[in-house]
């Protein structure tokens, strides 16, 4: 399902969590939503899923206003890290409820996932470990098979094996049943390959929304004699820099042409690509209080 967000603001008292965001997400893709703690990821997702009414602005899904819209609600599934369950219920009760209420629910797929993650449907929600709780959230989110599926930090407490199973199931099910999936995460490196597009939030705003592949190799580190580096990078957006003696290393957001690089190398500079994780760190590492 396609999502259209216009001038969305989410406020808690005096705190602005989402600050005038405009965002268009085409349907049928897997999106990665990245951002530091407190950057507004969960608030943005809550507004998209209508868990929270926008303080101002609008969320449209497939062209319709999303808030309190039954057609949109039926086709949207939002799994929060805390899970919206009754702790005293057994897993089976929660699964039955989803089966009753969700027209798109796939019970046999849910059973398959329960087995993959080694969960026991007779157990109570309150008895689950943090990782099992997250795994159960993944079961509910994927088996709902909704055209819009939103998973907010659904890997919390999962060990490396469980996370691998999660990513595998997510991709396999997406290949069989393509739909719009938004996944928020801090663990960029291990999932980036699954994302078609990446959205990076910082202090309530969307600072990057691009193809994941376009971000690979988007950042460049230029290293060399301080003066040569300084004159070479003039006019580019500098993300970070460090100096040691007469050597300066500057990280830039952008591309250089082959000609630029040749010219730079002739001047004694060296160029190195940076990964998505590093780009993310550089883009969002300004102190948080600067915005307050």
């Amino acid at each position: 399902m396609s999502i259209e967000i216009r001038e969305l603001t989410v406020r808690y008292g005096g705190t602005v969590a989402v600050d005038g965001v405009d965002l268009d997400l085409a349907g049928g893709k897997i999106y990665g939503l990245l951002g530091r703690n407190g950057s507004g990821k969960t608030s943005l997702l809550s507004a998209i899923a209508s868990y929270r009414k926008p303080s101002s602005g609008i969320v449209r899904i497939d062209g319709e206003e999303a808030f309190e819209n039954p057609r949109v609600a039926r086709r949207t599934c939002f799994i929060r890290d805390t899970l919206d369950l009754s702790d005293s219920d057994r897993l089976r009760t929660a699964l039955d409820l989803a089966a009753r209420l969700r027209p798109t629910w796939d019970g046999s797929y849910a059973a398959h996932l329960i087995e993959v993650f080694g969960l026991n449907p007779r157990k109570r929600v309150s008895s689950l470990s943090r990782g099992q709780r997250s795994a159960f959230g993944v079961v509910l989110g994927l088996a709902a098979r909704t055209p819009l599926t939103i998973l907010d930090e659904s890997y919390l407490g999962m060990d490396a094996v469980a996370r691998t199973l999660f990513y595998r199931e997510l991709l396999d099910d997406y290949l069989r049943h393509p739909r719009t999936i938004i996944l928020s995460t801090h663990l960029i490196e291990e999932v980036a390959d699954l994302f078609e597009r990446v959205i990076i939030m910082d202090r309530g705003r969307v600072i990057v929304h691009d193809e994941t592949d376009a971000l690979r190799g988007r950042g460049v580190t230029v290293t060399g004699p301080a003066e040569a580096v300084t004159s070479f990078v003039a006019g580019h957006a500098v993300l970070g820099e460090q100096s040691l003696g007469g050597v300066r290393a500057v990280t830039l957001d952008g591309h250089f042409t082959a000609g630029d690089i040749e010219r730079g190398e002739a001047a004694g500079l060296s160029f190195g690509p940076i990964g998505i994780q590093d780009l993310f760190v550089h883009l969002t590492s300004q102190p948080l209080e600067a915005s307050r």
Binding site: Y167, T212, D213, R216
Partner: protein, 116 residues
């Protein structure tokens, strides 16, 4: 499998080209579908599709409607010609630059290679 310092679709295209050059993919042989490729390498299918589209654009692969993608009959020869051209510019030239910088003469290099 993939690193994230350059776009994966380019890495995919490069990997398939290497397979064609080494002979592990033969001419007119069918290649994996984008979904199979995505599932196998655990990557987003759109990324895989972009890599394949690049190869179709370059004429390395061709599509058969409703069946899939195949290695072009002349792919290997063309890739080889292309790589041979690049070999001197991208492999030999930097080597000669480095040799010059550290005082190794061309004769010395030729002699070294002759011993191999």
């Amino acid at each position: 499998m993939f690193h994230d310092r350059s776009p994966i679709y380019l890495q995919i295209a490069e990997g398939i080209k290497n397979d064609i050059l080494s002979g592990s993919l033969e001419e007119d042989q069918q290649v994996m579908s984008t979904n199979q490729y995505a599932a196998f390498y655990r990557i987003n299918p759109a990324t895989a599709a972009k890599g394949f589209a690049q190869l179709v654009d370059e004429g390395v692969l061709y599509k058969r409607r409703g069946i899939g993608m195949f290695v072009s009959p002349d792919a290997r020869a063309r890739l080889r010609a292309e790589r041979r051209e690049r070999f001197f510019a991208e492999v030999v030239a930097p080597m000669l630059d480095e040799a010059k910088r550290i005082g190794i003469s061309v004769d010395e290099i030729v002699k070294h290679l002759g011993e191999k």
